[in-house]
Symmetry: C2
Subunit: 394 residues, 2 copies
């Protein structure tokens, strides 16, 4: 795999933060990196041109969703995901384990795999570690994820252990089934909020010698302090010379906190999901553009931002687009929130290059007021309920 | 008005078609021209950057909608429409006469003006020719439209006459009330489908010496043959040295037919409205991208098109976006349909420059199969009913 590598460029002083570079057949990725999510082969409301312009170096998509629609064969025939969605830079596909296990009564798990019903038409499907590898190979992303069982939160330790152990057996089967040598397969650490399970899972997967590791099963509604503590405990048992990817985490404060603990890669639907609801990141916290305070504001929502939205339009114009439910509002808010995170990661990398990350962290966290945790959990629960009602998962 | 002028560059041989150039404070407009519609200060789902890239030289917006939301004062304070929507090129505002008269039971007409209730909050408002001029001056478009009464279709001749005569009196009041000398005020010819009324209306407005004339009250559901005949009869009585704008007409075949009859400017919501429903223009007619025939098509919807959508994505990808109801689909389809019309107008202008318009017309009409008229009228009626239910007008 000459065209796939990870270089650890520098380790920070006084924290676990790392500066690195992933090399893939579709280009390099400077780490730490935030990866915009394009679940259905499109980052919602944003063109690939806009994505490239805002500095995204890799996007994430989802094997489960694409397997169902438009179908793996169609994506493969149209040049794989890169050709299909016209994104020439690196792509990572999640396996769909999270989505399949989110289906609840629509799925049945055996040691061999998972039988599930499509949330679109009720048709029956069977995912095994081997079939998922075929799907992800046909989709053709640069980095593909093992098929895992993601335990929900909360869940008791025995359930978390069973899900973890099945994830381990399936991870080994994924490794054995993988064929293409121009793709990297990452293993996914599970173990819920139980430190001893996380240690066991990280150690076991490390022994399988994956080229990279993801931390799954976090940011599912547990307190942020728990997320950070479990993350740190997990990373202790992973090899330092391989990339570490924290799945589904992407608020600005989380990026800072988790870079500090040693994460190289992040993804989250958060920036685009909240954008479509009118919530925009600023250096002092999230703001809802529908708020009357923006009605006459002849300045960008975030004067420090260099995105197309902030350099072109006033907050008052965005306010108008959201009040009139104009589609352009979703695009402009998504572009801004993505650029906000991509730019934050650029600043983090620059700080790591000059070994000044602690100053950046302190400065950012001193100004940024995170969304109140209770509000955040309630908003997320409400959203997930709405998604389940639509049968869409995350 | 040194910075506003119309130059008739060339008249076609064998038809009434004309090649011209409008000069405005925000740039030149080569005519015949198609003007994308941004009713609420946004061409739906398209950024100003994309609009400029696809070659739009002027966009249209609507005084009625902007007066209600965000309010005229806000647009004025934010730099007028050009600054508010960040569109530095020319803008035309319709007066909102069409929208106010579409409100039905929500409005009451007197000689002085129209009392109407907002379709958003039921609040009461009063539009007169004088107040509409103030609104359009505050919005600051390069070309503004007189406040007219647009009779519906069908309507009897007596009703059409009364609406026309009121339009005449209000047109004179608009002219008298207009103050800014960096805006052009166009008069609007009415008269329904009655040739003698059209002749009377065109002649009367011509006597008021507007710098340009619009033909209103067409394309309201009457047969296309009627549209074309009434248009031709109207244009006969308008001065040849002033621009002629046909309001609300914009199917590809209409553009060809009406350029031939002497129209210089067109606008229509059609290309963006049908785009959001998955209908895309091709050189052989409209296609619905949701059709199963596009499921695996590894070619653009329209291989002759040079737009971002067609040069970047396959029909199969667009099909996928519409089947999964992804917002990006609305953007990509809108960009294509707008570019299709803008490019058609570029070709028409080139043909007029080389005096080969009849060949272009014959070639285009030989290949392009218009949407069946009954289907078209039924679709439009259905859409307008849905709009009325939402209270949005056209």
């Amino acid at each position: 795999m000459a065209n796939l590598s990870f270089q650890l460029l520098r380790s920070a002083t006084g924290s676990e933060a790392r500066r690195g570079r992933l090399t893939t057949p579709h280009g390099n990725i400077e780490t730490p990196v935030f990866m915009p999510v394009g679940t259905q082969a499109t980052v919602k409301a944003v063109t690939p041109h806009q994505l490239a312009e805002l500095g995204a170096s890799i996007v994430l998509s989802n094997a489960y969703h694409l397997y169902l629609r438009p179908g793996t064969a169609i994506v493969k025939d149209l040049g794989g995901l890169h050709g299909f969605m016209s994104w020439p830079r690196p792509i990572l596909t999640d396996s769909g384990g999270f989505q399949v296990f989110s289906l609840g009564h629509l799925r049945k798990v055996t040691e061999e795999g998972v039988v599930f019903r499509s949330h679109h038409d009720g048709s029956e499907h069977f995912f095994t570690p081997e079939t998922v590898m075929r799907v992800e190979e046909d989709l053709g992303a640069d980095i593909i994820m093992a098929f895992d069982e993601c335990a929900p939160y909360p869940c008791d330790q025995e359930y978390a252990r069973q899900a973890m152990e099945r994830t381990h057996r399936w991870s080994a089967r994924c490794l054995a089934a993988k064929r293409r040598d121009d793709q990297w397969l990452f293993g996914i650490v599970q173990g819920g909020i139980y430190p001893e399970l996380r240690r066991e899972s990280a150690s076991f997967l490390a022994s399988l010698d994956f080229p990279g590791y993801a931390v799954g099963g976090l940011s599912l509604g547990e307190p942020k302090a728990t997320t950070y503590a479990i993350l740190a405990e997990t990373l202790r048992w992973l090899p330092t010379d391989k990339p570490r990817y924290l799945m589904g985490v992407g608020s600005p404060e989380d990026l800072i906190e988790c870079v500090e603990r040693g994460v190289d890669m992040f993804d989250a639907v958060l920036p685009t999901r909240i954008a479509r609801n009118g919530a925009l990141f600023t250096r002092t916290g999230r703001r809802n553009i529908r708020n009357a305070s923006f009605r006459r504001m002849d300045a960008p929502v975030d004067p420090t931002c260099d995105c197309y939205t902030c350099t072109t339009f006033s907050a008052a114009y965005l306010h108008h687009l959201f009040k009139t439910e104009e589609l352009l509002g979703y695009t402009l808010a998504s572009v801004h929130n993505l650029r906000f995170l991509v730019k934050l990661m650029e600043e983090i990398r620059a700080a790591l290059d000059s070994d000044t990350f602690p100053a950046l962290r302190d400065d950012f966290l001193a100004r940024y007021v995170p969304t109140n945790e209770e509000v955040r959990v309630a908003q997320k629960a409400k959203w997930e309920q709405a998604q389940r009602a639509k049968g869409e998962g995350r």
